[in-house]
Structure formats: C-alpha cells, structure tokens
C-alpha cells in the first residue's frame, strides 16, 4: 500500500498547487481540477509508460490528451511534478508571457501538451487520431484522454464515439469526469446526460466505472482498463468525482467551477492540504 500512499502524497501537493495557482492568478478553474487530481496523479505517476523528456509525436510511449482544457491547473501541476518543466513555472499560470496559458496550448511550446484545448468537445477526436497513428506505426503504446461530463453535450464527442467503435480503435482509453456539475448548475438541471453507461455501451464502447476520489480504485480501474485494450473496442471509464474534492467549502457544488478563492479562503483551503513535496 506504500504505492497508494505515495500517490496520495503527490495528489495532496497537486491540490495545493491548484489552489495556489488559481489564487495567485485570481482566476481559473479549481473545482474540476481538484476533482481530477487523484486521476491525473495516478495516470502520470503510475499508469502511463512515459519517456524522459518530451517529444511531440509520442512515438514509443503512452500519450495523454486533456479535452476539458479548463482544468489546466491540475494538469500543469502534474506535468511539472512529473518533470516536464520546472515546478517554479507554476507561479506564472495565467500571467502574461507565460507558457502556462489559461487553457493548455502548444503555442508557447510547453512540454507535455500536444494540442490546444479549451473549446470543448474536440480532445477525443484528436486522441483517436493519435491512436490511429500508433496503429499505423505498429506502436503498442496507448492513448489516454480525459473529458468532462458537461462536455458530452457537444455533438462532436458522439461523432468521435461512433468513429472509435466503428474503426475498432482499441488502443484508446477515454475517461469521463462524471462530477455532475457544469457552469450553470448540475448536468441534470442544465442538460441531462440521462443513462450515461447505457449510452457509451450502445455506442459500442467497453464501459468501466471508477471512484475518481478513491486512490485505490483509481489505480485498480486504470490497471483494469489497460488490460481491456487490444480487444476490438475502445475503452471508456466513467469516473465519479466530486468537484472541489479535498477542500471542504468547494466540494460538491458547481459554484467553484471557474472562480478563484480570496486570500482568506486560500489560507483555509491550504490548511486542509498537506505540503508533501514542497510548494513551488
């Protein structure tokens, strides 16, 4: 269980980074970022087979695409903590002349990012393209993609879902951050996704479930998902998370989707998150 404990320690630091980045920038998206901290920490520190350094084409290694680009704080933190760029650079988030744009982009050459995202619904298509490229190259490595649940209201997601099943893109693992919240309220209130597992199954995907805020489950389900690749179906993990997880006053509400905590709230939040790897 030391592996789980290690991941939890890293995730705690990632959550501190998120709160501090958003607080410093006085803008950004803490809610979804905090909810996905356990997943992204596990993906980068346990699941993916990654090379040292960064190559855009990702040949000979697993690749990850973030479709819901607004949760850039969690990804930037995990990328920095994984060694893609200096941890100190997290302090430039959303500032002018920074590689850490509000939404992730290749434009400033930030290592670890392979496509811009932010305008929703596009990442899955890009991930499929990358997976097809690996197939053409005979590269056995996998492609991962994270998408939001509100994002599933974009039609392009379902175009991509049709395509991946039709073309048997089975070197692809898509995870849906199923936190049930979006900007204007809960997904049920705004535009109900109804029976999500049945939808994905009907589209021809292999459907897995995960508790995205239980590190043991995150590790286990990601391992399971990897074992389910190469069997003719794309794999989707429906990951239940709580928006704002780890900071009590941010949890479970859409209100912290896209606002920054003030100085006092930041202090309260950081008191709940152990500094394990050293703040940037």
């Amino acid at each position: 269980m030391s592996q789980i404990a290690d991941l939890q320690r890293t995730a705690s630091q990632v959550r501190r980074d998120i709160v501090r980045m958003v607080s410093q920038a006085k803008s950004g998206h803490p809610g979804g970022s905090l909810g996905c901290a356990d997943f992204l920490t596990t993906l980068y520190f346990h699941t993916m087979d990654r090379k040292d350094g960064f190559q855009m084409d990702g040949k000979g290694e697993d690749m990850f695409f973030l479709s819901n680009g607004h949760i850039s704080p969690v990804w930037y933190s995990v990328l920095a903590r994984s060694g893609y760029f200096p941890v100190a650079e997290l302090g430039t988030f959303r500032h002018i002349n920074s590689r850490l744009q509000g939404h992730p982009t290749t434009h400033e050459g930030l290592p670890g990012v392979r496509v811009a995202s932010g305008s929703l619904g596009q990442g899955m298509s890009v991930a499929i393209g990358a997976a097809l490229s690996k197939r053409l190259d005979g590269d056995q490595h996998l492609v991962y993609c994270l998408t939001g649940d509100g994002e599933l209201q974009e039609g392009q997601v379902w175009e991509a879902a049709l395509f991946a099943a039709h073309h048997q893109v089975d070197n692809l693992i898509v995870t849906v951050d199923w936190n049930g919240q979006q900007i204007d309220g809960s997904t049920d209130e705004v535009m109900s996704l109804r029976d999500l597992p049945a939808k994905w199954a009907a589209f021809g995907w292999d459907v897995l479930h995960m508790n995205g805020n239980d590190m043991t489950d995150v590790v286990a389900v990601l391992d399971q998902a990897k074992a389910r690749t190469g069997k003719g179906k794309p794999v989707v993990i429906l990951m239940k998370t709580e928006m704002g997880y780890g900071v009590d006053f941010m949890m479970g509400s859409h209100k912290w989707h896209g606002i920054a905590p003030n100085a006092e709230q930041t202090e309260t939040a950081l008191a709940q998150l152990a500094e394990t790897l050293g703040d940037y």
Partner: protein, 328 residues
C-alpha cells in the same frame, strides 16, 4: 482555330490542352503523394467519389479513414494523426471544410500548429445546381484569417495536382481550395508550383490583373478581348492567397498603375481584399474587384451563375476599363 492561335500567341506556354475538373487534379496529386510519402494519410467525410480520392483508397486502404458525415470529428482526428507524425489530407466540400468546422480548425489545427492539409472541393458558385447552401463564397476569408494557415486556390487541374504534391512537403496547416466543373487546362503539366510565388501568365503595361482559381481562365478570355481593343494587359495568377506574393503585386502595379482582382468568392475577405491591403500599405493605386458582391449564390448552371453574379469575362473587361480610367 483562330482564337486558339491567338491564345497561343498571347499566353505563350499557357495553351489549352483539354478540359478537366480541378478536383480531378487533386485526386491525381493525392495518389502521387501517396506513392512518395509513406506518412501521408487521407480522411473523407462520405464524399470519396466527389473528391476523387478513390484511387488513393484503392492503393493504400490502411492509410485511409472514412469518417462518415462528421466533419468536426474528421478535423480533430486529422490533428491527432498529424501529432503522431502523419501528413493527413482531409477531403470534403469547401463549405464543410471551413465554416462548418471553423472552431475545430482554429483550435486543434491552426493554433496547435498541426500539419494538416484541408482539401476542399466544390468551392464557389461553379458548384452549380446544388445552390447556395453548398456554394461557399466566404471560405478564403475564413481561412486566411487564421494565423499560420496557408491558403491556396489553384486555377486548373494541372495546377491543382502540382499544388497537392507541393503542400505535402510544406510543414504546417494548408487550405487547398478547388472545384467541381470540368474546366480548361492550360497550365503545363511540368510547370513548377511554388507556394507563395505568383505565376505571371502574361506580361503587359496598362493594367495588372490578379486572378485566382477558376477566374484565371475567365481573365484569359477577357485579356483576349482587351488586347484586341489595344489594351496591354498583365495577367498574374495568384494561386497562393496566403502567404501573398506582395513583391510580385507591388512590382507589377508599379509598372501598370492599376489593378483588377478576380476571384470566385465574396468581395469581402477574399483575394481582392488581400491585394487592396498590400497596395494601401505599399503602393496605393486604383483597384477594381471582380467578385461576388456580398451575396449568397443560387441554383443554376456554372456558366449562368458566373454571368449573373458578375464573374464573366465581360465583367473583367469592364473592370479593367474602370481601373484604367481611374489612373487619371
């Protein structure tokens, strides 16, 4: 016969050798690229026959991806394939290659610097009978506004083939625009295609006519009339609208003193506006537009539509007279 001889004299090596659609040139170019570029891949959104991509699919089925009627997804997949080091060529109609998927191109391809070739057929009015829903006249404007996007609108089948081959070796996103109808072929098959380099069709002294796409042929027809009237015309083919060969435009207009732009596109945002901007910044001179006057198209035969919407040779002749008159 007399006309043919006259054309040969006027346009030198640019003599008509037959009739072929520019989309046929694309299909031939794509197969040529397939043979020389193992990383070239093709995608199509349910329009294989219209885009003339059949031969590529037959020769390299593993390098072709049918996306069905989902253009947004196709653009994203192309971006992903490019990320993995492939050279994707997407194929669908110009309308569905641009306006329909603008944000996908903007974010996943242009902003992300992806090496995707967006190949668009059935552009402009000459699509004909299908009408305005499919006759996009805004695509050049849409695409040229994207930073880093190369925009090419070849004028005949040979040039389209050459352009298709050329863009495979150009690293970066490209919009390649071509059309549906059979069209005179007059660019020699061995004419080199250089992205961003204007192609002089004829030298002259009284006016600089800058034409792109199908309108190059219309301009050649107009030049025959104008020369018979004793007006010495310079005709330059601007196949690459971005990056624009500003030096060639400035050099020509410096000699002639006026310009006429010809394009199968809305007057707003097309080649004419790019030329006007160049002239305004570097060499102010009178300019007349031959373009669709800020309107949608309609159903009809291509030649009927070109007349009705002011893109016929006589429209170019009149525009030249106006431009010369304005020189003062």
């Amino acid at each position: 016969m007399e006309t043919q001889t006259q054309t040969d004299t006027l346009f030198g090596r640019f003599a008509v050798t037959g009739k072929q659609a520019t989309r046929d040139g694309f299909g031939l170019g794509l197969s040529a690229v397939g043979a020389t570029h193992p990383h070239a891949v093709a995608l199509c959104a349910d329009l294989l026959g219209s885009l003339k991509m059949d031969d590529f699919v037959k020769q390299w089925p593993e390098r072709f991806f049918q996306t069905g009627i989902s253009e947004a997804n196709m653009m994203g997949i192309a971006a992903g394939l490019a990320t993995g080091g492939k050279i994707p060529f997407t194929g669908t109609f110009a309308n569905f290659s641009t306006g329909r998927v603008y944000d996908q191109i903007r974010q996943s391809i242009a902003y992300s610097h992806k090496n995707v070739k967006i190949c668009a057929s059935h552009a402009g009015l000459t699509l004909g009978e299908d009408g305005a829903t499919h006759q996009i006249l805004e695509d050049i404007g849409l695409m040229k506004m994207l930073p880093g996007m190369t925009v090419i609108n070849p004028c005949d089948a040979n040039q389209t083939k050459a352009a298709t081959i050329a863009i495979a070796d150009h690293h970066g996103p490209v919009y390649l625009r071509f059309g549906r109808p059979g069209w005179p072929v007059f660019i020699p098959a061995d004419e080199p295609f250089v992205i961003g380099k204007a192609l002089p069709i004829k030298r002259g002294e009284a006016v600089s006519i800058f034409a792109t796409g199908h309108l190059v042929w219309q301009a050649m027809e107009a030049v025959k009339t104008l020369e018979a009237q004793g007006i010495s015309c310079e005709l330059i083919n601007i196949h690459t609208i971005k990056p624009l060969d500003e030096a060639a435009i400035i050099e020509s207009v410096t000699r002639t003193g006026c310009a006429v732009s010809c394009e199968e596109h809305n007057r707003l945002g097309g080649l004419g506006d790019s030329i006007a901007q160049t002239l305004a910044r570097h060499r102010p001179a009178p300019q007349e537009y031959v373009a669709v006057d800020d309107s949608f198209g309609e159903s009809g035969k291509p030649e009927e539509l070109l007349v009705k919407y002011g893109l016929a040779p006589q429209d170019i002749v009149q525009a030249v007279h106006r431009a010369i008159k304005r020189k003062g």
